[in-house]
Symmetry: C2
Subunit: 119 residues, 2 copies
């Protein structure tokens, strides 16, 4: 079946969450949002492109930081309201310079930092 | 630092997305939503508990299907608006009986089914 970005379910702001996962290690790197045009741009260019809710603008991952995400595979979930992008990540995915945004674990009621910023 | 569910950022409906990842294989299984009480219940019981937006009720994963998710580790992202639960998944995570909800890939503009329902 041919894919149409309008077949996805977007929230009231016209956005759909996209999980980025390292295609090699399987590590979950981050979650951010796309609108229909960002999904189309990601598929067309192979450079994962989000919609920045704070800037209200397209966010070509790595465009300013160099920490780009090259798309390996884009997947849609069973009810078409979440995306999973497997990617080749250059450098850290997180703006804190950590490999993944999910660097804090909750263990026995306490926050534990799992990774340090990359040098 | 001790963890407080009120430190998380919820959307206007009081919900935060939670990605479930198989703790052993690294496979991303699904994404669903939690409210603050569901986060607390998940941490307290070790049984991953979402908030069902369609039923407007707590959704203890596997309670009716038997396809439960036992929490291994709960992680918070850098801006506290997304969770990652690594889990031990019993049976399929998806209501379609597939291991993961992300069983559809978009390749060359066409939807490709990556996995079959479990038998």
């Amino acid at each position: 079946m041919s894919f149409d970005t309008s077949s996805l379910t977007y929230n009231m702001a016209g956005l759909i969450p996209c999980i980025a996962q390292d295609a090699s290690s399987g590590e979950v790197l981050m979650m951010a949002w796309m609108n229909a045009e960002a999904v189309a741009m990601t598929l067309k260019t192979g450079n994962v492109t989000y919609w920045s809710r704070s800037r209200q603008a397209f966010w070509v991952k790595g465009e300013s930081s160099g920490h780009s995400q090259q798309l390996v595979d884009l997947r849609v979930d069973c009810d078409q309201d979440c995306l999973l992008a497997t990617v080749r990540q250059t450098g850290p995915a997180c703006h804190t310079n950590r490999r993944s945004c999910f660097y804090t674990s909750v263990r026995d009621g306490v926050e534990v930092e799992l990774m340090q910023p990359m040098t």
